[in-house]
């Protein structure tokens, strides 16, 4: 059964955001600017996620309960797990709006806002991840389409299995890109006993 989670605006890690923006070394110099961008970004975020739990079965191909895949990397990640959580999470369309606003006005600000929104989405995924795993005896690091040999087209099955568009408003393009852009889908291997 699909569950929906909502949260308060997730706090982005500024140092992480600086790294996403391509700032190497000490980001101290741009931290005030990042703080300023954060002030504009946070009110625009509306984090929401949906997830479901599936029984999995390893065989010739890996049966995830909602789709069968062939992926060595995922098999390795899920070794020892009999269940997975599948989740989709987003910080919402507001982040896209703020980034879009600065596309023409100040591309550098757009770059920082983009990086901050990515960091906020990561924080939100951490929250969602923790909330799900807390219901079990532990979990593996989360794994997403496009990691290793896990095909990006699995997104289509994920979107169908979680009714992602209906439940949290994230849409999938023909090329399997998600909008709002700051959205993540992931599989978490769960330890149940």
């Amino acid at each position: 059964m699909i569950r929906i989670l909502r949260g308060a605006a997730p706090e982005p890690n500024l140092r992480e955001a600086a790294r996403y923006a391509g700032v190497k070394g000490d980001p101290a110099q741009i931290l005030p600017l990042l703080e300023d961008c954060k002030k504009e970004l946070l009110p625009a975020l509306s984090p929401v996620a949906c997830y479901d739990i599936f029984d999995i079965c390893a065989g010739e191909s890996l049966d995830l309960g909602f789709a069968k895949v062939k992926s060595r990397a995922l098999c390795k990640n899920l070794a020892g797990c009999k269940k997975i959580a599948l989740f989709a999470a987003t910080v919402g369309a507001g982040a896209d709006r703020v980034i879009l606003k600065y596309r023409a006005l100040s591309p550098s600000r757009a770059l920082f806002l983009d990086a901050l929104a990515s960091a906020a989405a990561e924080s939100w995924c951490d929250e969602v991840n923790a909330e799900i795993v807390a219901q079990f005896k532990g979990g593996r690091p989360r794994f997403s389409c496009g990691y290793g040999d896990l095909d990006i087209t699995l997104q289509r099955d994920i979107f169908a299995a979680l009714s992602v568009t209906k439940n949290i408003g994230v849409t999938l393009s023909d090329d399997c890109f998600m909008t709002p852009v700051k959205s993540v889908t992931a599989i978490i291997g769960l330890y149940d006993d």
Partner: protein, 798 residues
């Protein structure tokens, strides 16, 4: 039964969840529910029958989510079968109607997503066509989370048939849709577009929905539809929901009591819920009342006229503005967007948008600029043009309920504009002039206003959607001009009860120190009942008058706004710079333009450039200050001492300084010769890299024509030919689109042998660039700038 008979009922009952019922019958997660119209027609028919038995007046066919993107060529077949089943089930029941159920396309519209507005309209049209052919009695658009998509759907229905249409959106607990629209904005847009009933469905339980319903009903003048969920799926038993039948029906009683006339259920509700709902609410008589609100809206919020003065920013109108004219001719959208943001920050409530410059195609330019402005501000826009074609093109793609500027008392004007006001659901500024010009007296203007009202009524346009402009004209030419305008304004506001607007500054035409006269006239007009003023929100005189009047008229409770304003303004001076900017200046100290560029201080760099221009010639500012600073930054980047964001910030600061200098020189004096066309190739919608390159090139003084993203090879060639490009830069981010890059490079090489090509992007390598015949591989934005500089030198040597 006809829709008229249906609307005579005190309460109209809809059905409940369909997906919920199908899941109980065995529909699996991820399975297309519309498939069941063919695989399990008996089940689908039986669900309809259960809802009819429960007492639903209207049942929705199993067509939710059916569209060309999901069902391809079989779309029409799916819809016809679904309507057939619903009609078959309703045979034998008296007075029941079958609705074509239209859900969202599942794609997000541009600019956030990749679906074009007209593509969305066409996708909905295909469904409507099939629904009409199959005999649907009405169309129910529901579960829409983007108001722009709801607009596309309503337009599709209206352009395809004359069936009644209900439209409902999804709100979260924060009383906003997913794309950020308030209930007031959604109600204004849906009602404006002519939906017969509007409202909300899905996501929330009745209890959670109540406060949103209250706001929605308080501004809707048509019947309101409410279809909540039965709460959330139960954690222990997934087939049950947290709100049971009794609790649901009780919650719905409260919603009907607020005035909701059309009620049903969404996810988790079953025939038992509908039965209980009918039992608990029958006999209630919700009243649908006319609200008489003059409202315009953006995609996020509504602005009500007549409730305190509203400022309409006038700066995006090229009349008398040389810099804006140039920007419009040269496609310099950055400048225009900057004006939009500056006015929004200065406190404008609505922005006027007029792009009428001779030599431009207004019907293309106006919608394009409107679209761009809506990406940088969420203020409602006033679409201002004398061309009906440009007006329609802009109204069609505007996201919200527009303010239309303008109609007047001439027969031709009303025949051109009123149909557009009606179709696209706007409010319109009506000028009190006619074939004989502007009447000199107030009485003459009021008489025209009355004629306009009665003509508008013929199109079904209500007084609330007409805002009269009693036309300020120059007191220098006619001493009685201001009095006539103000008297007419007073009569229309108090006598006719309609809202008013004025282009305030016209009154001082021909006089010196115009702002003194303008601000005095502005105060008099506010006293006479002005609802909206078209003014320059960056003018301190006007804002002073506005703030003072708000305090004097008692609207500014406790004078709080005034006190805040006064703390930042000195009586005879412009607003003092904000603390933030002062901080920036302090950090820089007396250091020059170079330091501002190196540190990436944009505004300070512009100020420094302006200061330097007072002592040294423009070319010296560029050669002696900007270029060396940019060189240092560029080298730092190449030596990996500084990184992309710092490079971009420095470049933007240099760009701001360049802008100041350009204005001091004749047009084209400092521009580089090299003509560059940039595009992200066809199929690729990722343009952040290309935008960085563009910004950097421009800030280094190059002239760039940006074609945007997802650009077909032929379009790149056409643009390159037309502007005589020396360099075409192409970007691709996805492996799937590199083929399109090869095609584009090939086409340019074969048709324009003189033109160079440079390529870049995450998936492009030097080797690949060579293999497709590109002249240059650019690893990053700075490399592109260096290549452009090299080509510029070569051109200069020729």
């Amino acid at each position: 039964m006809t829709i008229e008979t249906l609307f005579k009922k005190d309460i109209i009952y809809l059905d409940g969840g369909f997906g919920t019922m199908l899941q109980a019958a065995g529909l699996k997660a991820g399975e297309n529910s519309a498939d069941w119209n063919f695989s399990h027609p008996d089940v689908v028919e039986d669900i309809h029958r259960q809802y009819l038995e429960a007492g639903a007046d209207v049942i929705a066919a199993n067509t939710f989510g059916v569209n060309v993107f999901r069902c391809g060529e079989r779309t029409s077949e799916y819809i016809k079968q679904a309507i057939y089943l619903a009609k078959k089930a309703s045979k034998g029941y008296k007075n029941r109607l079958v609705a074509l159920d239209l859900g969202p396309t599942g794609k997000l519209l541009q600019p956030l997503g990749d679906l074009g507005f007209e593509d969305a309209v066409n996708a909905f049209k295909e469904c409507v066509r099939a629904g009409v052919e199959a005999g649907a009695d009405l169309v129910m658009i529901e579960t829409v989370s983007d108001i722009y998509e709801a607009k596309a759907a309503i337009l599709a229905v209206k352009e395809q048939c004359s069936l009644p249409v209900f439209a409902t959106c999804v709100f979260g607990a924060d009383a906003k849709t997913m794309t950020g629209s308030s209930p007031e904005a959604v109600a204004a847009v849906l009602e404006g577009l002519g939906a017969d009933a509007i409202g909300l469905n899905c996501s929330l339980s009745p209890e959670e929905m109540l406060p949103v319903c209250e706001r929605f009903i308080s501004c809707a003048s048509v019947p309101v539809v409410v279809k909540p969920n039965a709460g959330l799926p139960d954690v222990t038993d997934g087939s049950r929901y947290t709100v049971d039948e009794q609790k649901f029906a009780l919650g719905m009683r409260g919603i009907v009591a607020l005035g909701a006339k059309i009620v049903g259920g969404c996810c988790g509700t079953t025939p038992a819920y509908i039965r209980e709902l009918i039992e608990k609410t029958s006999g209630m008589k919700p009243a649908v009342t006319q609200k008489n609100l003059t409202v315009v809206a953006s995609y996020t919020h509504a602005v009500t006229l007549g409730d305190g003065l509203k400022i309409i920013g006038e700066r995006i109108n090229p009349t008398g503005k040389k810099r804006l004219k140039e920007a419009l001719k040269n496609g310099d959208t950055g400048y225009i967007l900057g004006e939009a943001v500056a006015q929004a920050e200065a406190g404008a409530h609505i922005l006027d948008v007029n792009v009428g410059v001779p030599g431009t195609d207004e019907a293309k330019l106006l919608p394009a600029i409107v679209r761009e402005i809506q990406t940088v501000t969420d203020l409602p826009l006033q679409i201002d043009t004398s061309s009906p074609a440009a007006m329609e093109a802009a109204l069609r793609i505007y996201n919200g309920k527009p303010l239309i500027n303008s109609v007047d008392g001439k027969k031709e004007s009303m025949a051109n504009i009123f149909p557009l006001v009606k179709k696209y659901g706007g409010a319109v500024i009506a000028l009190t002039l006619d074939e004989n010009g502007i009447p000199p007296t107030a009485e003459g203007r009021v008489a025209i206003a009355k004629r306009i009202l009665s003509e508008a009524a013929k199109y079904g346009i209500d007084k609330k959607d007409i805002i009269f402009d009693t036309l300020a004209t120059s007191v220098a030419a006619d001493g009685g001009a201001a009095t006539a305008t103000l008297d007419a304004l007073f009569s229309i506001r108090r006598g006719l009860g309609a809202n008013t607007s004025l282009g305030v500054s016209n009154v001082s035409f021909g006089l010196p120190a115009r702002e003194i006269v303008n601000s005095a006239f502005f105060i008099a007009a506010m006293q006479a009942g002005l609802s909206a003023a078209i003014i320059n929100p960056l003018s301190h005189e006007m804002i002073k008058a506005y703030k003072a009047f708000a305090a004097l008229s008692g609207r500014d409770k406790g004078c709080l706004e005034y006190i805040d304003y006064a703390s930042r303004v000195q009586p005879t001076q412009a607003i003092a710079p904000s603390a933030e900017k002062l901080g920036e200046a302090e950090k820089v100290g007396e250091a020059g333009l170079e330091k501002c560029i190196l540190r990436g201080f944009k505004e300070r760099a512009a100020e420094q450039a302006a200061a330097l221009l007072k002592t040294i010639p423009p070319v010296e500012v560029i050669e002696g200050h900007i270029v060396p600073a940019l060189d240092e930054v560029g080298k730092g980047f190449e030596e990996k001492k500084i990184y992309l964001p710092q490079l971009m910030m420095s470049a933007e600061a240099a760009g701001a300084a360049f802008d100041v200098i350009k204005r001091a020189l004749p047009a084209g004096a400092v521009e580089k010769k090299l003509k560059i066309v940039l595009a992200t190739v066809k199929g690729d919608v990722h343009d952040i890299g290309k935008n960085i390159v563009k910004s950097l090139l421009e800030n280094y003084g190059f002239c760039v024509l940006d074609l945007g993203k997802d650009v077909p090879p032929e379009k790149v060639l056409k643009a390159a030919k037309e502007c005589g490009a020396d360099l075409v830069g192409l970007s691709a981010l996805m492996t799937t689109t590199v083929a399109a890059m090869e095609q584009t490079v090939g086409l340019i090489k074969s048709e324009l042998s003189e033109c160079k090509t440079a390529v870049g992007g995450a998936v492009i390598t030097e080797e690949y660039a060579r293999s497709i015949g590109a002249d240059k591989y650019c690893a990053d934005a700075m490399a592109t700038v260096r290549y452009a500089e090299q080509l510029e030198e070569e051109i200069k040597k020729r």
